[in-house]
C-alpha cells in the first residue's frame, strides 16, 4: 500500500460519505435550524423527528410493510431459484439454454413497461394492495438474478459430491437439503442479499401496486411535502431509517460480498 492509493481511496470514501453525513446531521436538527443557517453540526441535538416517526402508525407501518414484502420476496426467490439453479448447473435438458437466456431478459425489462399490466393483473385477481402482490412483482427481476448467481456458484461444486451421496443411498430431496444446501451457504447468503437489495430499493412497482394497506415507506415519504412546504427534518429522519436495514444486511455478508458481486463467476 502506498500513500497515493490511500489518499485516493480516502477521497472516494469522503465523496460517498458526505451526502450521507449531511442527511444524518439534518435528521437531528429542527426545521428552524435547517432553514435558518448552514450549520455543520446540530446546535440543538434533538430526536424530535425520530420520535414523530415512531409514534405515528401511518409512518412506521411503512417500514413494516416494506420489510414484509421484501422478506416474502427473498423467501419466494430462494425457494424457486435453488432447485432451478441446480438443474441448470447439473443437467442438460430440452431447451435449457434458451430458457436460461429468456430468464435473463426479464432482468432487462424496464419496470415501467410492466407497470400498467401489473396494475390490471393484480387488480383483477384481487391481489392489489397486498404485500404478496409486490413480492411477486419483484420476483420478476430477483428470480432471474438469483438463478444466475446460484448457477455460477453451484457450477463450482464438483459433481463427485452428488454422485457419492447417491451411492450412499441419499434420495434427491434429502441430499439437496442435508448436504448440498449447507455446502453453498455463502452463495445463498449472497443471493438473499441481492434479492433483499433489489426489492428494498425498488419503488416504482411497489408504489403502483399498493394504496393503503401495504404502502411502502418510499411512497409514504412523499407525505412530508405538505401545505407549508417540505418538512426537511422529518424527511431526513425517514431517509436515515431506510438506510439502516441495508447496512445491517451488508454487514452479515461482508466476507462474501466481493465474490457475490461478480455473481460467482470469477
Amino acid at each position: 500500500m502506498n500513500k497515493r492509493k490511500i489518499f485516493g481511496i480516502s477521497l472516494y470514501i469522503l465523496f460517498l460519505m458526505l451526502p450521507i453525513y449531511w442527511l444524518v446531521m439534518m435528521s437531528f436538527k429542527s426545521n428552524e435550524e435547517i432553514l435558518g443557517s448552514l450549520t455543520y453540526w446540530p446546535q440543538h441535538f434533538s430526536f424530535e423527528n425520530y420520535i414523530s416517526i415512531f409514534s405515528d402508525p401511518s409512518w412506521y407501518m411503512g417500514y413494516v410493510n416494506s420489510m414484509i414484502y421484501v422478506l416474502m420476496n427473498v423467501v419466494i426467490t430462494l425457494a424457486t431459484a435453488l432447485p432451478a439453479a441446480y438443474a441448470f448447473s447439473r443437467y442438460r435438458f430440452l431447451g435449457d439454454k434458451p430458457l436460461f437466456f429468456w430468464l435473463l431478459t426479464n432482468k432487462m425489462a424496464p419496470p415501467a413497461v410492466f407497470l400498467l399490466p401489473f396494475f390490471q393483473l393484480y387488480s383483477s385477481v384481487g391481489l392489489f394492495d397486498t404485500h404478496i402482490a409486490v413480492a411477486l412483482a419483484h420476483c420478476l427481476f430477483s428470480v432471474p438474478l438469483a438463478v444466475w448467481i446460484l448457477e455460477g456458484f453451484m457450477s463450482g461444486v464438483p459433481t463427485e459430491i452428488d454422485e457419492t451421496a447417491y451411492i450412499d443411498g441419499y434420495s434427491f430431496p434429502r441430499f439437496f437439503i442435508k448436504i448440498f444446501i449447507p455446502m453453498i451457504r455463502p452463495a445463498i447468503g449472497v443471493t438473499a442479499f441481492f434479492s433483499f437489495m433489489f426489492s428494498w430499493v425498488e419503488l416504482l412497482m411497489a408504489r403502483t401496486l399498493t394504496s393503503v394497506e401495504a404502502k411502502p415507506i418510499g411512497a409514504i415519504m412523499t407525505r412530508t411535502i405538505g401545505g407549508e412546504g417540505v418538512d426537511w427534518g422529518l424527511l431526513a429522519a425517514a431517509g436515515v431509517l431506510t438506510i439502516i436495514p441495508g447496512c445491517l444486511v451488508v454487514w452479515f455478508v461482508r466476507d462474501h460480498i466481493a465474490k457475490g458481486f461478480a455473481l460467482g463467476r470469477v
Partner: protein
C-alpha cells in the same frame, strides 16, 4: 467445469421458476402486446388499430427527445463510471480489517432506496440548506439544479456516479482478487511498470466482470426513474425527463393505454437490442484474440 448429464426430468426443478416468471412476466407482456394494437375507450369497447400507435409514436417528439436524452445519459454514465470504478478497485486495500470496512462502505449507496438517493441529493444540492449547493454558491458559481438545465444534468450525473460507481468497483475488486500472486511475481522479475501490469495482467483478467458491469450499468441506467423523479421531477422543463418517466406519465397520468403499451414495447426492444449488441461485440472481440 463439470460434465453435465442429459436428463429431461430436470424440467421439474425448473418448473417453479417458470411458473412464477410466467405469471409475472409473460402474462403482463401479452397484455401489453394486446393493448398496443388497440384503441381502448372503456372496459367493453376496444377497436383494433394495427400499427397506428407505433407509427404515431415513432414520430412523437416526446419519445424522440427522451430517447436522445436517455442515450446521452447512459453513455455519460458508462464513460464516467467504468474507468472510475476500475480506478477505485485498484486503490482498495487488499487485506485485513480495512478491506472489509471499505467493502461495506462502498456497498452502502447500493442499499439505499432509490427515492431516498434522490432525496439525499435533493437536500445536498440545495443552495439554502445543502452542503454542496451552499459551497458552490459560496465560491461564486451560480448553481441551482431546479432552474438551470446544465446544473440539473450535472447533479443527476453526479448522483448516479455516487450511487452506482461502487457496483463497478466491487465487481472489479472481485475480479482483481482472483488473479494469482504468481502473475505479479513474474511481472516483478520482468521489471514491468505499473502501467504494463495493469494493461497486460489486470485488464485482461477483468474482462469477464467488466462485461457484467457494462451490461448491468447500461440496463439500470436505461431504466432510471426514481432518482431524477425525486431530484428534479424531470425538470427544469423536460431537460432531465428520461424514458421511464415519459412512459409513466403516459400510462398512469393520462391513461393512454394504447400508445403507452406501444411505447413500452419499443422501450423493451431497445434495451434488449442494445444489451445484445454489447454482449455480442464484447464476446466477439474476446474470441478473436
Amino acid at each position: 467445469m463439470n460434465l453435465k448429464v442429459k436428463n429431461n426430468k430436470a424440467w421439474f426443478l425448473v418448473l417453479p421458476v417458470l411458473l412464477i416468471v410466467a405469471f409475472s412476466a409473460v402474462v403482463p407482456l401479452m397484455t401489453v402486446v394486446n393493448y398496443s394494437v388497440q384503441d381502448i375507450f372503456d372496459q367493453n369497447s376496444a377497436v383494433f388499430v394495427g400499427t397506428e400507435w407505433y407509427r404515431e409514436l415513432l414520430n412523437d417528439p416526446r419519445l424522440q427527445d427522451s430517447l436522445v436524452r436517455q442515450f446521452t445519459f447512459s453513455s455519460a454514465v458508462l464513460l464516467i463510471e467504468i474507468p472510475l470504478g476500475i480506478l477505485v478497485a485498484l486503490m482498495m486495500p487488499t487485506k485485513g480489517k480495512m478491506a472489509s470496512l471499505c467493502l461495506v462502505v462502498l456497498a452502502m449507496p447500493l442499499l439505499i432506496p432509490w427515492n431516498v438517493v434522490g432525496t439525499i441529493w435533493q437536500i445536498f444540492g440545495r443552495a439554502d440548506i445543502g452542503l454542496m449547493g451552499a459551497f458552490l454558491n459560496g465560491i461564486g458559481i451560480d448553481y441551482n439544479y431546479a432552474a438551470n438545465p446544465v446544473d440539473a444534468w450535472f447533479t443527476v450525473l453526479l448522483m448516479d456516479v455516487w450511487h452506482w460507481t461502487s457496483l463497478v468497483a466491487l465487481l472489479c475488486y472481485s475480479g482483481l482478487r482472483s488473479i494469482p500472486d504468481a502473475y505479479y511475481q513474474a511481472a516483478k522479475i520482468d521489471r514491468a511498470s505499473a502501467w504494463s501490469v495493469f494493461r497486460y495482467i489486470q485488464l485482461p483478467k477483468l474482462q469477464s466482470v467488466l462485461v457484467i458491469a457494462v451490461l448491468l450499468r447500461f440496463m439500470d441506467s436505461f431504466m432510471i426513474y426514481a432518482e431524477p423523479f425525486v431530484l428534479t421531477g424531470g425538470g427544469p422543463g423536460n431537460s432531465t425527463t428520461f424514458l421511464s418517466q415519459t412512459l409513466t406519465k403516459m400510462a398512469i397520468g393520462q391513461f393512454d393505454l394504447g400508445p403507452a403499451a406501444a411505447f413500452s414495447l419499443i422501450y423493451f426492444l431497445i434495451v434488449l437490442l442494445v444489451s445484445w449488441l454489447f454482449f455480442t461485440t464484447i464476446t466477439h472481440l474476446d474470441n478473436k484474440r
